[in-house]
């Protein structure tokens, strides 16, 4: 009984205490850097276990470098900073979330961005994904439908020097026609259909990525590809190594 009680206490308090990095102010940059390295290790570990399933041994080194550089803790609310580098999604207010780092890495990798590619993000959210994209290409356009969220993200992006990320509050359904076509589009807000104007703004050979699921967890990642002949295909990817059936049937 005693052992059980002790275990229970340990479990309870372990959960109650902030995990990962202890709450630290911005000047504890070194601690955050260490936490980022830990996060990258966690992502690599996850990928190793899923690599055969996802048909990729590792993420593009540029994606991982970007994740090592972007200070994720500055994109989450101050009270959540201590958890910023845990491999889990976090609420950022306004009913929105910042995705789990592993999913962010996977989505960014699936976009297959090259320097100079033009990329459109629908759903700026915290601005973290936009900052990552800006590490990979200098032509990033991001739209948000919740005004205060867009303003907050803009401030953080400016503070970190991502001035070239263009942001706008507006209807993502019609994309950003003045800057179209795009090499890649990432739709971070769930949708029940792919807006036809967005499909039209995708370059031949371009890719659109849509995570489908709840605000906290992506059930599947949908990669829409516009082929050179103009035809459209999707690839539906479970972000986790799971097959519904084993054996022959």
């Amino acid at each position: 009984m005693k052992v059980l009680r002790r275990l229970l206490l340990v479990w309870l308090f372990a959960g109650l205490l902030p995990g990962g990095v202890p709450a630290a102010s911005d000047d504890h940059e070194e601690e955050y850097r260490r936490a980022r390295r830990e996060m990258l290790r966690a992502i690599e570990q996850d990928l190793r276990e899923t690599s055969a399933y996802l048909e990729r041994r590792e993420f593009d080194a540029r994606v991982m470098d970007a994740m090592a550089r972007v200070p994720r803790h500055l994109f989450v609310p101050p009270e959540r900073r201590s958890q910023a580098y845990e491999n889990r999604p976090l609420p950022i207010g306004y009913g929105q979330t910042i995705s789990q780092p592993y999913i962010v890495a996977l989505m960014t990798d699936l976009l297959g961005l090259k320097p100079g590619d033009r990329v459109l993000e629908i759903g700026t959210g915290s601005g973290y994904q936009a900052a990552l994209l800006a590490e990979l290409t200098d032509q990033v356009y991001s739209m948000e439908i919740i005004e205060p969220l867009a303003q907050r993200a803009r401030k953080v992006l400016d503070r970190l020097g991502y001035h070239r990320v263009r942001t706008r509050v507006g209807d993502g359904y019609y994309g950003w026609p003045e800057q179209a076509p795009f090499d890649a589009i990432i739709v971070t807000a769930a949708a029940d259909h792919v807006p036809p104007p967005l499909v039209a703004q995708l370059k031949p050979g371009g890719r659109m990525l849509i995570p489908v699921g709840s605000r906290f967890m992506a059930q599947q990642l949908v990669v829409v590809t516009r082929n050179e002949d103009g035809s459209i295909h999707t690839r539906q990817i479970l972000p986790v190594r799971f097959v519904p059936l084993t054996g022959e049937h």
């Binding site: 372990a14 259909h193 295909h233 986790v240 799971f242 059936l245």
Partner: protein
């Protein structure tokens, strides 16, 4: 209190106050369920309210400790508890709704568990006070146990009907205000009956309290979770809430946004050139229910409506007579009109939705439900079909109006997706007709394949040897559409289907003779899971496939109507292992929540039952509280507590297939059980006087056995035979059928309590607590058992529990004092 002396004769039990209190407590319980479904999600609402009801169990523990002292000051104790119930009901909810509980974060943050515990604690308080008031009254008026118990049940019965009426008249929070006012009235009634001094002052205080609470209830606002659809929609720049209307089925809300319009075109083809025209978002209890679409087009210009998987049947034949089940905002009705259907019966359960489309937003929707050939019918879809002779060319079950897409709805019974339902729909198709289902597709495949398996079973039961010849299945990246044909599908139809899919980049999943190479072409999965699944389900290895598949795809039946439950225990370890690596969405939330609720209820119950037992042991027994008698008390009251709810819940489901409407069926069946059980309780004492309590209990259990077995044997045939009776006649017959069973079920509790009143008074709070806990466990356990074994098994188990209880009837050896009872109602 010297009031009794003053009046000469001591006042009798405050029956009117107890009746009103019981009605208010039951109405509160049902309304809390509604309120939490609005601000949270249905299955968490279920868990929260179930656990909060342990307030009844806690009352037993509390009284074991303080019964004597409280009985010495009964009027003050009663009034305090009545006042505390009335005073805490509204604040408890308002405080609980502000606790930022987010179920999705529970697996990461222990803090969420604390939030949940705080909600339980807050909401259990009103039930605790209500239970104390009833239990103390039963203890104080031991010679009137039958009468007190009877009015308690009668009140609960009235509450179950009253809350439905109330929810139809008032928004949820004002309805809560009305319930609180009723509870305050019970205080006044008790004060009057007990002839308390200074009643005038008390009445003024009560009036002031009522006015304050009504004002608070009127001005308070609901705070839905920020992650609910309605919160998300209203946060978008430019969003406006155009309409809110409360009904007994759901809180309906309509949202417009001119700046960033809402758009609803589920699974629109990637080849579509245009999206939907302007739409208004429609929400039920904060969950998206699709949209009301502006009618801008003309017949022959189907626009985006032709680019959905649900358009397939219109490309195989032009239906003359179409039935849309779950018409909602009217998307599929508009689709049927634009794609050439002649007559359209649009069936929608919620009259509020039909009002919105055909009155408040008639101009916007092009007065869709009054267009030539369109007939909006307010009815439950299956009941509508089964009570009519009409035959249709197309019966279309819509995406939004037919009961959810799994996970969140795993615990909801659904009678549209059972094998028997599909048989019924097929029987109402014309010779060339089609039955069509459109669903959200989820990965890995679940609902789509389960529906396919259900269709196969339904066709086989209708004597079709080769069901594969009558099935067509297609999918986009978001939706799938299954068609079941009244006759074998020919090559022309297959060609038309292929052409439809090719033009829209939809994938073929199944048609008779389809080669695997044609599957998985446009929306590419790692393997053609859907086609392989469909093929396996039609082949000789279907049984092995169902066994090995990682989700439960076995067809739902009327006896196990849980289509949306896909959970398998064997898959749980794998999913938990993948939790950190994005595997959590694979977990079907509803079922684990049910298990969590059961475990919590069992743990809390064990604590609440063990505490009074320890207490009894620590003090020398005054009566004859031997260990043997304690064990009998625990077994007996746990047994009848479990059995009563098992019966109630199972018979609600049985009668659902006769009365059809989910809400009214629950209200009618519940009220009938409670009222007639009350009547049974009233006659139990008289029966005991002539035959003795133990014998009377045996007779009651015999009656339960006979009436239940008769019901199991003949109810289904009777329902089928009388399905065409008018609603009022069916309701009257249902009440008459329930009456004898409920009458018998009302007896075992007061009979045993009466026996304890004569030599085991100290065990009465224990009996009360055990029965309260058992009732809570029972509601959760009944759902769990029904998911696995069906409601018939639940009924059989209830019978065994009654028999077992009769065998351990607690007879104390010598006389003494007496008290409480219990019944629970979370079936609704």
């Amino acid at each position: 209190m010297n009031t009794e002396k003053r009046a000469g004769r001591p006042p009798g039990p405050p029956l009117a106050a107890i009746t009103l209190l019981s009605a208010a407590a039951l109405a509160y319980e049902v309304l809390l369920m509604r309120l939490f479904s609005i601000i949270q999600w249905h299955h968490f609402a279920y868990m929260i309210i179930s656990l909060a009801l342990l307030g009844y169990g806690a009352s037993g523990t509390f009284l074991a400790l303080l019964q004597r002292r409280l009985l010495a000051h009964y009027p003050a104790a009663l009034l305090t508890n009545l006042l505390l119930f009335a005073g805490s009901a509204l604040p408890a909810f308002l405080l609980a709704q502000d606790i930022p509980f987010n179920p999705e974060q529970m697996l990461w943050e222990a803090r969420e568990l604390l939030h949940l515990a705080a909600i339980y604690l807050l909401l259990s308080l009103p039930f605790f006070f209500a239970a104390n008031a009833i239990a103390l009254t039963l203890a104080r008026y031991r010679r009137h146990i039958g009468r007190v118990y009877a009015v308690d049940l009668l009140g609960a019965g009235a509450g179950s009907i009253g809350v439905v009426l109330l929810a139809g008249l008032l928004a949820p929070l004002p309805a809560l205000g009305a319930i609180v006012t009723a509870a305050l009235l019970s205080v006044a009634l008790a004060a009057r009956k007990l002839r308390l001094p200074r009643r005038g002052q008390l009445f003024i205080v009560l009036l002031l309290l009522a006015a304050t609470q009504l004002w608070v209830a009127r001005t308070a606002v609901l705070h839905p979770s920020p992650y609910k659809d309605i919160s998300q929609a209203l946060r978008v720049s430019g969003a406006r809430l155009l309409d809110t209307r409360a009904g007994p089925l759901a809180l309906l809300q309509v949202v417009a946004n001119d700046r960033i319009p809402l758009r609803y075109a589920p699974g629109l083809s990637l080849n579509a050139r245009q999206g939907p025209p302007p739409q208004l978002g429609l929400f039920a209890d904060g969950n998206s229910l699709g949209a009301i679409t502006r009618d801008e087009g003309h017949a022959g210009e189907p626009g985006f409506l032709d680019q959905l998987t649900s358009a397939l049947p219109y490309h195989l034949a032009t239906p003359e007579h179409t039935l849309i089940i779950g018409a909602g905002g009217g998307l599929e009705v508009l689709q049927a009109r634009r794609l050439g259907s002649g007559r359209i019966d649009a069936v929608e359960l919620d009259p509020g939705i039909v009002e919105l489309v055909s009155e408040r937003f008639a101009a916007f929707s092009g007065d869709l439900y009054h267009q030539p050939g369109v007939h909006a019918r307010i009815a439950e879809g299956r009941g509508f079909v089964e009570t009519r002779e009409a035959r249709y060319d197309l019966i279309q079950l819509t995406l939004q109006g037919t009961g959810g897409s799994g996970g969140l709805f795993a615990l909801s019974e659904n009678y549209l997706y059972t094998v028997e339902a599909l048989e019924s729909f097929l029987a109402h198709l014309d010779t060339d007709g089609w039955l069509a289902f459109t669903r959200w597709t989820r990965l890995p495949p679940r609902g789509t394949l389960k529906l396919f398996a259900t269709a196969i079973e339904a066709l086989r039961r209708r004597g079709v040897d080769d069901p594969g010849q009558r099935l067509l299945l297609i999918r986009g990246w978001q939706t799938s559409t299954l068609l079941i044909a009244a006759r074998p599908v020919d090559d022309d139809l297959i060609t038309a289907m292929k052409s439809f899919c090719r033009q829209r980049s939809f994938d073929l999943v199944w048609y008779p003779g389809m080669p695997r190479s044609e599957a998985n072409r446009y929306n590419v999965l790692r393997a053609p899971y859907f086609h392989d699944g469909a093929r396996a389900l039609l082949g000789p290895g279907a049984e092995a496939f169902l066994t090995d598949y990682k989700f439960d795809l076995r067809p739902a039946t009327d006896d196990r109507p849980y289509f949306n439950n896909f959970f398998k225990w064997s898959t749980l370890p794998e999913i938990l292992e993948l939790r950190e690596r994005g595997g959590l969405p694979l977990l079907e939330a509803g079922y684990p929540v049910l298990i969590a609720a059961l475990l919590q209820a069992l743990a809390a119950s064990a604590l609440l039952i063990l505490l009074p037992l320890l207490l009894l042991r620590s003090r020398p027994a005054e009566g004859a509280a031997t260990a043997g008698l304690q064990a009998r008390v625990v077994s007996y009251f746990a047994g009848i507590g479990l059995a009563f709810l098992f019966m109630e819940m199972a018979f609600i489901q049985k009668f659902m297939l006769f009365l059809h409407h989910p809400l009214y069926t629950t209200a009618v069946v519940l009220a009938s059980f409670l009222v007639f059980a009350g009547a049974g309780s009233r006659t139990a004492q008289r029966l005991a006087a002539t035959t003795g309590r133990r014998r009377a209990t045996l007779l009651a259990v015999g009656g339960i056995l006979l009436t239940t077995l008769a019901g199991l044997l003949w109810l289904d045939s009777l329902f089928a035979w009388l399905a065409h009776w008018p609603v009022a006649a069916r309701v009257a017959l249902s009440v008459a059928l329930i009456a004898p069973l409920a009458w018998c079920m009302g007896m075992p509790f007061p009979l045993a309590l009466g026996a304890l009143g004569q030599g085991g008074v100290r065990l009465i709070p224990l009996a009360w607590g055990v029965n309260g806990c058992a009732s809570v466990v029972s509601a959760v356990l009944a759902t769990l058992l029904a998911i696995h074994f069906g409601f018939t098994v639940v009924i059989v188990l209830a019978l065994l529990l009654y028999l077992g209880s009769a065998a351990v009837f607690p007879s104390p050896p010598s006389p003494a004092t007496g008290a409480p009872h219990a019944r629970r109602v979370d079936a609704c």
